[in-house]
Amino acid sequence: MEKMVREGKDPTSPVIKLNGVNKWYGSFHVLRDINLDVVRGEKIVICGPSGSGKSTLIRCINALEEHQEGQIIVDGTELNRDLKNIEKVRREVGMVFQQFNLFPHLTVLENCTLAPVWVRKTAKKEAEKTAMEYLERVRIPDQADKFPGQLSGGQQQRVAIARSLCMNPEIMLFDEPTSALDPEMIKEVLDVMVELANEGMTMICVTHEMGFAKTVADRMIFMDQGQIVEEATPDIFFNSPESERTKEFLGQILSH
């Protein structure tokens, strides 16, 4: 909080602001008039059937996908065609992918220090020290000198989280972080994410882990056919959702 006041940022104003965002893939309307405000420290879980546009939505927030209409403002910077703005936003927004996307030609430690050294211009020694701290927090400091190909899926995903945290981001985006994992490895990744949430990180997670959502989410968002259909606190979302579509979806994923 002190840091924000010092930097002249209002802690109550939205850190991410989406205004009437529309996106098309060719003629396919993938995002329809999305409006979303996220305040600092808020945890949002987005769910919905496949093809509903939830991944596309969070990929728009760090400009991995371009939106065609509307306004996206992240931490005071508008994402437009200005490459400098895009680079600025990406420095402050970490992302964790479904397929981990670790760099296979670099060691775990090098994966974690690459961006701090080349983007933040941090001294290598310092970057390594920070990286080791984060690797300890995700509980794999002993794997630092191995290559990603030598680790299990769960370990790789934890390295990916550490790699993002090394950039000291304001916001973390998670794009189905546990969907490519074997069941027994899901917990180790979720545990790390819960810890991160408890430390006050602003998080937007696309996930179907409803247990995780109930534990950490401040707000649940349900998307279908490119639209935000339902937006509510977990309590209301799981117990008394408004829309029929949400009820149907929850019925299907919670029935087992």
């Binding site: 760090n62 991995l64 680079e87 990406r90 420095r91 927004v93 970490g94 992302m95 992918f97 397929q99 996307n101 670790l102 760099f103 296979p104 030609h105 690459l114 961006a115 701090p116 050294v117 080349w118 983007v119 933040r120 211009k121 941090t122 001294a123 290598k124 020694k125 970057a127 290559f147 190909g149 030598q150 680790l151 990916a160 790699r163 993002s164 950039m167």
Partner: protein, 393 residues
Amino acid sequence: MDNKRQPMLVRLWRDPVWRAIFFQVLLILAVVAMVGWVVNNTLSNLEQRGISTGFDFLSQSAGFGIIQTLVEYDESHSFGRTFLVGLLNTLLVSFLGVIFATVLGFLMGVARLSSNWMLSKLASVYIEIFRNIPLLLQIFFWYFAVLGILPSPRQSFSLFDAIFLNVRGISLPWPILDSGMVMVAWTLLACCVAVLVLIFFNKQHRKNTGRPVPYIKAIMVSIVVLIPMMTGFLADARLQWEIPALRGFNFSGGLVVLPELAALWFALTIYTAAFIAEVVRSGIESVNKGQKEAAAALGLKPRRVLSLVVIPQAMRVIIPPLTNQYLNLIKNSSLATAIGYPDLVSVFAGTTLNQTGQAVEVIAMTMAVYLTISLTVSVLMNLYNRWVSLVER
């Protein structure tokens, strides 16, 4: 059925290990018999025709001239010397070809993937045209259609009255080295090595501190420029250029790049670069899209994404087919014979063979040379490939 009741031979025949050994022994015997027959046949035929075997001819006087020699050579030198001259000419054009084809190929491969429509289309057109026309035809194109229709020396195209382009080739000024200049040249070489060391050091420094060494570019430029200049001043070096001048019907002096070399070099470079461009493109495309996204999401600039993440991973896909292209280029340089560039095949397996009649020895030596060059290139590239390969579980 119980195996033990079968006769011994049947049991061995059904055992995959013994069966494999049997076939391999059979194969070896067949190969040895074949080689023995060929050697025996050749020797007896040579004897019948009264052709002496052996390598004595290499010390005989050659008696013919060669238009381009990198070492001292005239008609009085031996056939052994023609071998060396031809070998060096082959190495020269191969080296020039490999270097330029690599640079052009990488540029074209990256250009083909560029998001700039014009650039990528131009690269595609280049690739499709030059890899689909036979190499021999391209050599003829450069030799006869481009360099062959240039004006005679008297009507040369000239640039600053120092560089002349005519049907006899390209004449360039060439420095005459006095003792001072030799010292300057050595100093310059030493400074270049120093700068290479500096570049390496700067890379390390950048990795360690995230920042380049301050004023590194200025430092490097001054090392390369100022130190050799001071040496030159102290040693009282005088740089004199030998400028090509028209004497009679031709230019003399300076460095002459013969049209035969230029045509072969251009054709090999442009033809092979088209294939290398495709190799590079497929290598870059083989890198998972997620890698680029992860690197971009960390805030790396597109240039850094390419150089730090994509290219290092693409290299392991690029190296093996790139090696093939290098080997092809080196072997294709033997098409030199068609336009009279004095390469190893033309000078040694051509003229020398005709004059001495030592077909077996000459062809064997020539083949051995290409084999040696190719295997050396392969070994070096394999070493590099092992160095860049990924560690997996």
